[in-house]
Symmetry: C2
Subunit: 123 residues, 2 copies
């Protein structure tokens, strides 16, 4: 699978899981994983998913505008940079966001998220 | 120097150089460096700086809104995620942008940019 197709598949999987079964994201992180969410740093799969599942909205829908990917230079890692819109249930306007992921291959032939930085793009 | 302070110092140096002496950015990249600029992939310090110096504006000023940083997990590397505004000379409104850098330490005790992804955030 070429890197761009792989990045796109990861991104689709990530946001579909976020929008339909947020707690299921726990399988994508490991203990050394880091999330910086609007400037707040969180480490470890369970802490990260605790943060994501406690965000002050229950229903949301991500739509992706751009996906850029580059090899991160080490051990088959991949950097994925996403921009898109986040529509919260009951809100009139979608929020714009940017997010980056550093994906690391697992021995099982999959990837996990080592680094995750999320920022809303305030207009 | 703590990682956040180092990231902030890098970001200030990068954008000051961009705004005052764009060709001088060449010292921050190496041959294996990659830039994805608005979806266009460019590799190598000289190609990257050729792209940046040929952008269709001569004068610009970056102002930084947020800087997030995380260790990239390998060899002292660091991921830096930036959001900010880009004011072009003669334009009324600034453009919003997001950019990520993957910084790798050099044997000389400095850092170079291995990965660079730039995107405008269209409102």
């Amino acid at each position: 699978m070429d890197p761009d197709a792989l990045a796109k598949a990861f991104v689709e999987h990530y946001y579909t899981t976020f929008d339909t079964n947020r707690a299921g994201l726990v399988t994508l992180y490991q203990n050394e994983s880091m999330l910086t969410f609007e400037g707040q740093k969180i480490q470890g799969a369970s802490n990260i998913v605790a943060k994501l599942t406690s965000l002050p909205f229950q229903q949301c829908q991500h739509s992706i505008t751009t996906v850029d990917c580059q090899p991160s230079g080490f051990n088959g890692g991949m950097l994925v940079f996403v921009s898109g819109n986040l529509q919260l249930a009951g809100e009139q306007h979608a929020l714009k966001f940017s997010q980056m992921f550093h994906l690391i291959p697992t021995p099982q032939g999959s990837y996990y998220v080592l680094n995750d930085v999320f920022r809303l793009n305030y207009a």
